[in-house]
């Protein structure tokens, strides 16, 4: 029973991993920008939620009304700059690492390096849960999963069903071809960057619901989030959702069945195994011969 509870909780927290990974994955896959600054945007999203909730007593989820537009603009502006300066791939890794450092230290200037935590009184989601018999499903994690499904599922439909989405996929495969079909990659790129920013706002909000925030957290997300992005297949939104849930559930079960100390050991060994067996990501469709 404990293992079932852990697996369910883990899968739900996987929604948070998926939210964090989705924005990174889509800019990497579609725009060839490995945007480490995305972690900075998530951090800012978390602090905005903390700040608005603590200072004005706004419901944490409603803080998205502020943080999502702010981070949309930030994400779009970032993409505009990357595009203007022709920064892609490994140079984007470097530039965005510089930007991440700046973001982390600026948040330290504003909120100090001290731990911040939305007090129980202002956070109706923090500690409540839905009970199904002896299984408890924490509200904050249901929120994480709900937003993940909503945002990632929606993004997936847009990519698959709309003209802009198909244009983006064409752009990812061949830039010149896409350009000749009249796709304005600049504007499209900025919209994608902006939407990645929105996903960062949501991820940050969800993180702030259930966790203590400190600037150094941005670095701690690297391992799990990169694993989710690559396991899901770069640029594959549904893949990152499934990979997020899978990584969350798997880690939790390992922690219960063996010991939490074995979790990184087993998780990353499993990731290597997965890469060796399915090098194109676990959730990519098998390419036709």
């Amino acid at each position: 029973m404990t293992a079932v509870q852990a697996a369910l909780s883990g899968a739900l927290i996987g929604g948070l991993y998926a939210l964090m990974a989705a924005g990174l994955s889509v800019t990497w896959g579609a725009l060839r920008v490995i945007n480490l600054a995305h972690f900075g945007l998530i951090l800012v999203g978390a602090y905005l939620t903390y700040q608005l909730t603590t200072a004005w007593g706004i419901d944490p989820v409603l803080t998205l009304l502020v943080s999502a537009p702010v981070l949309f603009v930030a994400g779009a502006a970032l993409q505009w700059a990357y595009d203007r300066l022709n920064i892609v791939e490994f140079n984007s890794l470097l530039v965005s690492f510089g930007l991440l450092m700046i973001t982390i230290e600026l948040t330290t200037q504003v909120w100090t390096a001290d731990f911040r935590h939305i007090d129980a009184g202002e956070n109706p989601y923090g500690t409540s849960a839905v009970h199904l018999g002896s299984i408890a499903l924490p509200i904050s994690r249901l929120v994480a999963l709900g937003f993940a499904v909503l945002l990632i599922g929606g993004g997936h439909l847009v990519l698959e069903r709309t003209f802009a989405g198909r244009g983006l996929r064409a752009f990812a495969q061949d830039r010149t071809v896409a350009a000749s079909f009249g796709i304005d990659h600049r504007r499209l790129g900025m919209v994608v960057g902006g939407l990645a920013g929105v996903s960062a706002a949501v991820a940050g909000m969800v993180f702030a619901l259930g966790n203590t925030i400190a600037p150094a957290h941005a670095y701690e997300w690297f391992g799990t989030v990169f694993a989710v992005v690559i396991l899901g297949g770069i640029g594959n939104l549904l893949g990152s959702l499934f990979a997020g849930l899978g990584v969350g559930a798997f880690s939790a079960v390992v922690a219960v069945l063996w010991d939490p100390s074995y979790e990184p050991f087993v998780l990353f060994l499993a990731i290597i195994l997965a890469l060796v067996l399915r090098p194109k990501g676990l959730f990519t469709r098998r390419a036709a011969a």
């Binding site: 390096a113 849960a129 009970h131 969350g248």
Partner: protein, 418 residues
């Protein structure tokens, strides 16, 4: 061809010039008159993972130096403190202390924050023969440098002392706990208290068994843990009377949060080295939680300490609030910082010199006087760890209160409400 040779040369010159150019300035140090300030150097983690606590030590240290200078400084000289940011990166600590000693030519040094950093600083201090007062490393067996002076002592064997202290304290409850769950962070001193070190396997686990307690959960987790649901579910399902969280920082907060999310609040929880603020922020969920402390600004304790204690505590609160510290209270970390500075000041006064050898000898022979931990006598046989003044504190009505041992308690320990 020539272009490449030159380019390579240019590159190498950049590296080489580090060693190649001559020293122009002999600032500080030698030949100084008695009017020049005494310079103390240290690193602190002002950015990165340890920065939350690094900040407390910065504020406390600056406050101490200010007060010291207002009272005429040391040996009639002003004291200056040079703090470099080690960015919570252990690999940076050694070179920065080398820089402080050889480049800035500081007269004295103060320890950094966090055990790995203190060990790195100790290696440098030993090479240069500098006295190293340090706030927070309690791993007595590893701190082998004779001129290292701990400001926070849990005696020579914290791995025996803390479990016994805790179990003694909870044994006075009307229904003493029988089943304990132990969660241990695999970092720094936390694992030491659970499992001992090297051949000495004494720790919470063995002491609990000796005392006939039943360890129903024993989990070790990596410091990078982000999902606490699994451990929370195990603890909930094992129904312990006491959860011992041998952890650092906000781990206990996260674990309690995860338990609460599963609809469970443990009857009694002990947290080893928590960040005090966030734990209070949990509200009713953390009421009754226990931890260790060398000082809490409870009225009874402050009065007992006497002297400037109240003024120091109040002033710290003002400064920390101004620096937007979330929990601006002068408690264990700040008190340890204060102790460390008083050790350094006592040593210099006793030696009547800033010569590190003399200061080290003076501290060994005469000890140090501190505001919050009284007179400290350093025993070289146990790596200068002094008889501990560690007690148990408890959250009562949303405030940390010292509750054990009885002779230093501000209030009696309270039983779980449920």
């Amino acid at each position: 061809m020539r272009r490449r040779v030159l380019a390579a040369f240019a590159a190498i010159v950049m590296v080489a010039s580090g060693a190649a150019c001559s020293s122009k300035q002999e600032s500080g140090g030698g030949g100084a008159t008695d009017q020049s300030p005494i310079v103390v150097g240290s690193t602190l983690s002002l950015t990165g993972a340890f920065a939350a606590t690094g900040l407390i030590h910065k504020i406390a240290g600056e406050q101490f130096v200010e007060r010291l200078n207002a009272a005429g400084g040391l040996l009639g000289r002003k004291v200056e403190w040079t703090i470099l940011d080690d960015q919570s990166d252990t690999a940076k600590v050694g070179p920065l202390y080398e820089q402080l000693i050889t480049q800035n030519k500081v007269d004295l040094i103060m320890g950094p924050y966090a055990t790995p950093n203190i060990l790195a600083a100790m290696a440098v201090a030993e090479r240069h023969g500098y006295v190293l007062p340090q706030h927070t490393a309690v791993l007595a067996p590893q701190l082998t440098y004779p001129c290292q002076f701990p400001a926070w002592s849990i005696g020579p064997t914290p791995n025996q002392f803390i479990p016994n202290l805790l179990f003694d304290a909870v044994a006075t409850l009307p229904t003493p706990p029988k089943k304990v769950a132990v969660l241990t962070s695999q970092s720094g001193s936390a694992a030491f208290v659970t499992d001992g070190l090297g051949d000495d396997k004494t720790g919470v686990l063995t002491v609990a068994k000796e005392r006939g307690l039943d360890v129903v959960v024993d989990r070790h987790y990596p410091p990078t843990t982000s999902d606490w649901a699994g451990m929370a579910a195990e603890v909930r399902d094992a129904k312990p009377d006491l959860v011992i969280s041998n952890s650092l920082g906000v781990d206990t907060v996260n674990a309690l949060n995860a338990m609460k999310q599963l609809g469970y609040t443990p009857p009694l929880v002990f947290s080893l080295f928590p960040a005090p603020g966030p734990l209070l922020g949990l509200g009713p969920a953390s009421e009754g939680a226990l931890s260790v402390s060398i000082f809490e600004p409870n009225k009874a304790l402050v009065d007992k300490v006497g002297g400037d204690a109240q003024a120091i505590v109040d002033e710290f609160k003002t400064k920390a609030t101004a620096a937007s510290v979330a929990f601006p209270v002068f408690e264990t970390q700040a008190a340890a910082s204060w102790n460390a500075w008083e050790i350094l000041a006592s040593g210099v006064k006793a030696a009547n010199s800033v010569d590190n050898k003399a200061v080290c000898d003076a501290l060994h022979s005469k000890g140090a006087d501190t505001t919050f931990s009284g007179h400290l006598a350093f025993d070289q046989k146990v790596n200068n760890f002094w008889p501990t003044t560690l007690g148990i504190k408890q959250i009562q009505n949303g405030e940390w209160v010292m509750v054990w041992p009885q002779d230093r308690a501000a209030a009696p320990i309270k039983a779980p409400t449920s």
